[in-house]
């Protein structure tokens, strides 16, 4: 297969779109009215600007900007959350990066490279936002490499087949969008602005994943089985991406949800977002002809939502603590990439120093 021609360069949707679904229909949360509202809310908040002082800003749902006064705990919470988010983006390059050399066509390979590059870009937006809080990117990377800061545990699962690239785009990026759209309204300005950029770009990620699976389910029996196997393995971990339940035994001890909601960092509870995700994905799975691996999944006429079975929170905590299939591999790979790139960074610094020195010399001579 060759790269499709006739791409409208001014319209990335045209460039990466496909013909499998109605293009006017919202495919994911970044194309829904909620996303537009979040973006509009940011602008409206700016227009009302008049309040000052941290509590007044939060009460008026205005944005806190880098040099505003803010409680130390707010700053620390944001650094932790944004860093963890940034780390997830760059560690998230690995599971799919694993398939770049084995992508089944030139078209798929070009798409996959673009997607993995986007993940790097998302990490860069987020590190940039974190740095406005007074921490240096190098410190954040050290903390990732030393295991002092975490990344989303979804990336500790292996990508065993090509269908996993489809399942990641469809389920993992789908869950990420669901988590990220409310963050476009986060009280901290630089984080909210970074999330708006990220959400716009995630839309292509989810669609390309869906398209991979859509092609596989219409292929040979083996291809369809491969798609089903990927959905079986990624469904539950994707549900875990929304984090532990808000209440009950499995709830996170000393969780930050309540405080983060009061500060306008978090807008919805983990369970609410998880339910929205299930409600959105079940019809899409049906369209794909895939069976989600949950015998308890059924539509509840009373609530208007899809009920689903219990999540294995032991698995979640186990993987988070480091006992997933790929935890060690992901960090080793990340550290190796960083160390192997050291000579490039040093050479660029030496080049910059040399030319800066020459420039200064010319200036003083003039």
């Amino acid at each position: 297969m060759t790269l499709s021609t006739g791409a409208r360069l001014s319209d990335t949707e045209g460039m990466y779109g496909n013909d499998v679904v109605d293009p006017t229909e919202a495919l994911n949360a970044s194309e829904t009215p909620e996303f537009d509202e979040a973006v509009a809310a940011g602008s409206a908040a700016e227009a009302r600007d008049g309040a000052s002082g941290f509590d007044a800003l939060i009460a008026a749902d205005l944005r806190v900007e880098p040099r505003d006064e803010m409680p130390d705990a707010y700053r620390k919470t944001l650094i932790r959350q944004i860093a963890q988010h940034a780390h997830s983006e760059i560690i998230g390059m690995q599971p799919e990066g694993n398939w770049i050399t084995r992508a089944p066509s030139l078209r798929r390979k070009a798409i996959l490279i673009a997607k993995v590059q986007d993940e790097a870009g998302h990490g860069m937006y987020l590190y940039s936002a974190a740095e406005t809080l007074g921490i240096d990117r190098a410190e954040l990377l050290d903390m990732l490499h030393d295991g002092k800061q975490k990344y989303s545990s979804i990336f500790n699962y292996p990508t065993l087949t090509w269908a996993d690239c489809g399942a990641i785009g469809w389920l993992v990026d789908g869950a990420a969008i669901m988590n990220q759209v409310p963050l476009c309204r986060c009280s901290y300005g630089p984080y909210a602005r970074a999330m708006i950029r990220v959400c716009k770009e995630e839309s292509f990620h989810q669609r390309q994943g869906f398209e991979i699976l859509w092609n596989l389910v219409r292929g040979t029996a083996e291809q369809k089985a491969m798609a089903q196997d990927a959905a079986n393995r990624w469904w539950w971990p994707a549900l875990m991406m929304f984090g532990p339940p808000d209440t009950g035994e499995a709830a996170a001890p000393g969780g930050h949800t309540e405080q983060s909601m009061a500060w306008g960092i978090k807008r919805f509870s983990n369970d609410d977002l998880r339910q929205k995700f299930v409600d959105m994905m079940v019809p899409q799975a049906q369209r794909l002809g895939l069976t989600l691996p949950d015998p308890d999944l059924r539509f509840n006429e009373e609530t208007g939502h899809w009920d689903f079975g219990p999540i294995d929170w032991d698995e979640f905590w186990r993987v988070l603590r480091g006992d997933g299939a790929c935890n060690a591999e992901r960090i080793e790979h990340r550290v190796a990439a960083h160390e192997q790139g050291a000579w490039v960074r040093e050479a660029a610094t030496a080049y910059a120093d040399k030319h800066e020195g020459a420039r200064r010399h010319e200036e003083s001579a003039a």
Binding site: D136, E139, L141, A342, A348
Partner: protein
């Protein structure tokens, strides 16, 4: 400036003792007719690399036709603590606004 930070302390040394690259603020002109707008920051060893990195990080989808990069340490910003005293002088000059003036209602195009 929407996101100036404290003037950079030289540069942070990483665990390995490696000197980190300076921080640059990036501004993008979305299209002809619009002004450059701040989009974020990045690290680069020099201005030329900052421009190239800026292109890769902030304009992967043709979000821009022109880029500026400025060393973050070269930006001087007003302080939010002084916001009131700094910007207040404008508040009592209501005569700068067209609605200040009493003119007959039946005059057109005024």
């Amino acid at each position: 400036m929407s996101e100036p930070r404290q003037p950079e302390s030289a540069s942070v040394a990483t665990r390995s003792g490696e000197r980190s690259w300076p921080l640059w603020e990036v501004f993008v002109r979305g299209k002809r007719g619009l002004s450059h707008v701040h989009v974020g920051s990045l690290h680069a060893p020099d201005a030329e690399m900052a421009l190239r990195n800026g292109r890769d990080v902030y304009t992967r989808r043709q979000e821009g036709v022109s880029l500026w990069v400025v060393r973050a340490s070269d930006i001087t910003a007003s302080s939010p603590d002084e916001r009131d005293s700094f910007f207040d002088p404008a508040a009592d000059k209501v005569y700068r606004h067209p609605t200040f003036y009493d003119v007959p209602e039946d005059v057109e195009y005024l």
